[in-house]
């Protein structure tokens, strides 16, 4: 569906992309189901039968994602228009922000986040006055470059007119005041929060292009060092990194770049597609830059749209020559290792490629959600079909929103040598099962590009040297899963009810 920037609130992922949070099968059968519908005859067309469980949501929400993204913009102040409890995640947002700034050599500052701290009275009489006061206070006390407002379930239900307050106070405070509609109840997956803030910056910060910057490539990133500029500078291009760790100027000029790309379409397919639709900024339709196959195509596509094909070939040759010897050594040590992945969909796709290049067998994966399509780019073509072609099938390939019991059952079934997890919760469980577990936290760039294969290979070796830690842990903990239940899971019984 076309992106509609006129509406203040973004359409949810379920609406746009058919997102689901429960599914069991293999990577190959998921590809078939996405294209044609699943075997129970739901008919495809971006609809797929979803496994329904008693715990339909066990992790964050869209509001948390928005709070995370909004606080990572330099010079920004976030106002959480909500009861104070919605701001419980600020400490980890701050950790991520500080890490990102250190890695990029920026002057380190803390996130600045306020809360309207709504109470009973505000729920009854409306919360716009505390919001107005918070905006004025934020402007006066922090002199921000931009003020983001995240909405919450409570303010969504009482229908506070956040847009009007933002518009009125913007004139007064003289910087963009950006309302982001991210009520947690609207979508069952937190990734709608990425779309919500991208929608908001497109409406309120991205400027009408004043010129075309032919050497500028938008790259949509998360926290971590700038691994993109050193690569692109070699072919005479500049990377415009957005949103984590970026300046407001980086967001303003998104409309002027030659093209947009990312390391993760789960994160950014909305922003890329919208910039192409609204301003003609080419949204690159390459597989994500993981493994030799992905990185090569990714760079070649950038070369193609900027007329740097020859320079890109030289760069690819140079990078291959640089990393191949070390990768060969790592491969010799890691060949045949059986690894299970528990992470978001974009990262899982990336890791399947990286591990494939290292000779590691991916013996299963649990993803936190599944988008049947992406905005703009053809998902089948650039991710799943690409992976199947280069690295083969992954089985089991499960979608479960960070559900520990399903994770435990899958690990019991697969019995991997090692588990890689991105985002807490699950790594504690696999460690306690005695399986060496590599957390892929903090630095989102670790597996990126050519160097990413070396990074991951070395990290794997380091984790494998700590097997005993996990074994000792397992010997001293008791988990709530009965042997009979775990045994029943290995016999292929459905974990949960499947619903159309």
């Amino acid at each position: 569906m076309a992106i509609n920037l006129k509406s203040p609130a973004v359409a949810t992922r379920e609406q746009r992309l058919g997102t689901l949070i429960g599914w069991d099968g293999e990577l190959s059968s998921l590809a078939q189901a996405d294209a044609r519908g699943c075997s129970s005859g739901c008919g495809g067309g971006q609809k797929l039968c979803e496994i329904s469980g008693p715990f339909s949501q066990s992790s964050g929400c869209a509001e948390q994602t928005v709070q995370y993204e909004a606080t990572q913009v330099r010079g920004a102040v976030l106002i959480s228009h909500s009861p104070i409890g919605c701001s419980a995640g600020m400490a980890s947002q701050n950790a991520s922000y500080r890490y990102c700034q250190i890695k990029r050599g920026q002057q380190v500052e803390d996130v600045v986040a306020l809360s309207t701290n709504l109470g009973e009275r505000d729920m009854v009489y409306g919360g716009v006055e505390p919001l107005r006061a918070a905006i004025r206070l934020a402007a006066e006390r922090h002199k921000p470059r931009v003020i983001f407002i995240s909405t919450a379930c409570s303010t969504g239900i009482i229908g506070d007119d956040v847009d009007s307050v933002a518009r009125e106070t913007q004139e007064e405070v003289g910087v963009p005041v950006v309302p982001v509609h991210c009520e947690g109840f609207r979508s069952k997956h937190w990734s709608t929060g990425f779309d919500a803030i991208q929608h908001a910056v497109l409406r309120h910060i991205v400027r009408k292009p004043t010129r075309r910057q032919a050497d500028l490539i938008n790259i949509f990133v998360l926290s971590g060092p700038d691994v993109y500029s050193p690569l692109l500078e070699q072919i005479g291009l500049r990377a415009n990194l957005v949103l984590n760790g970026c300046e407001v100027e980086n967001i303003e000029q998104l409309s002027e770049a030659a093209a947009s790309t990312s390391f993760c379409y789960s994160l950014s397919s909305y922003l890329g597609a919208a910039l192409e639709q609204e301003y003609g900024v080419i949204d690159l339709k390459s597989p994500p830059p993981y493994g030799f196959a992905g990185a090569d195509i990714w760079l070649r596509d950038i070369g193609k749209v900027t007329g740097r094909e020859a320079a890109v070939e030289t760069l690819i040759e140079r990078e291959h020559a640089r990393v191949r010897p070390r990768i060969a050594e790592l491969k010799a040590k890691l060949q045949g290792l059986r690894v299970f992945l528990g992470m978001g969909e974009g990262f899982a796709h990336g890791l399947i490629a990286v591990l494939g290049e290292l000779g590691v067998n991916v013996v299963g994966a649990l993803n936190f959600h599944h988008d049947i399509i992406y905005d703009g780019v053809d998902k089948q073509d650039i991710t799943i079909a690409h992976l199947l072609k280069h690295y083969g099938d992954v089985k089991p390939f499960s979608v479960a929103n960070g559900q520990p019991h399903r994770f435990a059952a899958l690990l019991h079934q697969v019995k991997p040598d090692l588990v890689i997890v991105r985002h807490g919760v699950l790594n504690a469980l696999s460690s306690r099962l005695g399986i060496p577990t590599m957390p892929l936290e903090g630095d989102s760039t670790l597996p990126f590009g050519y160097q990413g294969m070396i990074n991951i290979g070395e990290e794997l070796l380091s984790q494998l040297s700590q097997r005993r830690f996990h074994k000792s842990l397992a010997a001293h903990v008791r988990l709530p899963y009965r042997k009979e239940w775990l045994a029943s899971q290995t016999q292929g019984e459905p974990l949960l009810e499947r619903v159309a």
Binding site: A2, N4, A9, A11, T12, Q15, G159, D161, D163, R167
Partner: protein, 290 residues
């Protein structure tokens, strides 16, 4: 480039004849060749019944309840003369939040750019009752309706609801929200009823768009599941609805009303009560003398 769709919201106390009048306006507008959508914003989801032969249609919220991925086209049904009928729907009485229901339903249609796609001349929101919470104010907030009309009889409670709506309009008027087109005076059969409404609009700096008398034709049409325009096209009442529709179609300048505060409203209604009692006593006295 699509033409600009004129978006109108009609508010009024429950049972005042809001859906009846709105449906007749919609019917008259399609009859005059316009492309019209009627959007019922009431959990009862019965705003458009008389445009569809008395038939209920699935509401946006019912569809959203069944499947989180809703194509807005599935919530649009054609009625009399090709009028597009949509019902926001909402929870059963006593549970949930009907105001949020309106927000969700309106958002869904806006996100899918339906008004532009259907190339509509008019979208008419038929909204329940007073502006009781933020959700019911959605149609008068920026970017939805431009003109608001309120339906009121001369009954004090109906005027109270109209005055409440004016307060909502006043709140949002400074923020680019909708402004007031005027009052559709319903069930006006006696002179004193007309005087009450006239006095109210004078004090609140607005106008009466049309005086609509109570009519048995309307009741008969409703009972047959049709609007008066459809069931009794040659009746006086149908002519009156056509005139009302034409006035609304030609209406361009809406204003910010000056609602009465609760003390002024009470004093005003008490003064009218005294006047009516005095008139009644005078009549009784004259009857005795005669």
């Amino acid at each position: 480039m699509a033409k600009k769709t004129k978006q109108i919201a009609i508010y009024g106390k429950g049972g005042i004849g809001k859906s009846t009048t709105t449906s007749n306006i919609s019917a008259a507008l399609v009859e005059a060749g316009y492309k019209v959508m009627q959007f019922g914003c009431d959990p009862k989801a019965d705003s458009t019944n008389t445009l569809r032969g008395g038939e209920y249609i699935p509401s946006v919220l019912e569809l959203l309840h069944a499947d989180s991925r809703v194509d807005a086209h599935d919530a649009i049904f054609e009625g009399f003369g090709g009028v597009y009928c949509v019902e926001a729907g909402g929870p059963q009485p006593g549970v949930g939040c009907a105001g949020r229901g309106i927000i969700s339903a309106v958002q869904l249609l806006k996100q899918q750019d339906i008004f532009e796609e259907l190339d509509l001349d008019f979208v008419i929101f038929d909204v329940l009752g007073d502006v009781v919470c933020g959700g019911f104010a959605v149609p008068i907030r920026e970017g939805i309706a431009e003109h608001v009309f309120t339906i009121s009889s001369s009954d004090f409670m109906a005027i109270y609801a109209a005055n409440n709506l004016f307060r909502g309009i006043q709140t949002y008027s400074k923020k680019g929200g909708a402004l007031l087109g005027g009052v559709i005076a319903n069930s006006i059969n006696a002179d004193y009823q007309r005087e009450i409404i006239d006095d109210f609009v004078d004090r609140t700096a607005t106008q009466v768009i049309e005086y609509v008398p109570r009519s048995v034709t309307v009741t008969q049409s409703e009972l047959s599941g049709r609007t008066t325009i459809e069931a009794a096209p040659h009746s006086e009442q149908a002519k009156l609805y056509r005139r009302l529709a034409a006035r609304i179609a030609n209406h361009t300048q809406s204003k910010t009303p000056t609602p009465l505060d609760q003390y002024q409203l009470r004093a005003w209604s008490a003064a009218w009560a005294d006047r009516l009692i005095a008139a009644e006593q005078r009549r009784e006295h004259e009857a005795k003398v005669a």
